[in-house]
Symmetry: C2
């Protein structure tokens, strides 16, 4: 009887799940002040890098399904952050484009990355160890994506 494998403190997934939720919560006051949720902020990160992308490209970049992203984008459209227009070359595509308000948000959220970055620093997570953390998480993600 190896109960050890079932101990909560031995679960990688529970740690990831908790760390992810808590870090998302750290974004909350900064984002909700501008009427944004965290997944909406992720969409903005994608569009700030490259504007006017089809739903599919945004979903793939965020490793989400389109049935998750579609309603999210519709809420962002209702809030005047993006527009959704039918593609011209492929009529099935919906091209998502930033509005002026959507672009403006990048300036208003200027200090969010640094603020959140400071909030996670501790003895075991430092500017020196973050690259290791990134490498392990990236390895896991690639591994799990390929299954």
């Amino acid at each position: 009887m190896e109960k050890e494998a079932f101990r909560l403190d031995n679960q990688l997934c529970f740690r990831l799940y908790t760390a992810s939720r808590l870090l998302t919560q750290a974004y909350h006051p900064l984002l909700s002040a501008r009427g944004l949720t965290y997944p909406q902020y992720l969409v903005l990160l994608v569009l700030w890098e490259k504007d006017a992308q089809p739903v599919n490209d945004i979903a793939k970049r965020l490793v989400l399904e389109t049935n998750t992203v579609t309603p999210l984008l519709k809420r962002m459209e209702a809030d005047g952050i993006v527009t959704r227009t039918k593609g011209t070359d492929d009529a099935r595509q919906m091209i998502v484009t930033l509005t002026r308000k959507g672009k403006q948000l990048q300036k208003e959220l200027h200090d969010v990355p640094a603020t959140v970055g400071r909030a996670v620093l501790c003895d075991s997570v430092t500017p020196e160890t973050v690259p290791d953390l990134f490498r392990m998480l990236d390895g896991m993600i690639e591994q799990l994506k390929s299954e």
Copy 2:
């Protein structure tokens, strides 16, 4: 113009969020075969360690709010996995107890931890590096909990 800070590839939170979702997805086929969701599995991990706990203790252990855990437990009760009974010493408490079926599930899910454990192994996540990963995630979690 500090665009670098906004790049998706530089975000720790996005990595955690993605890794957490993908790892949860890895549990899905194993758990849904027994009619369980991942958060329900976490509740079982808590109760298998110590049966008959009030809602509050379970929520605290999982770093969740009671308003998340309550409906989850009611679904588990409806599925015959746990029972919910009023506390005798404190009438406000709801004591959650495993049913025979709930205890039996531990045997049926015997190989879940090992199966999922194998699924995450890759070049950068190995039995040697996992302790480092645990330490960093635990550090982050403690740091974020204390804010």
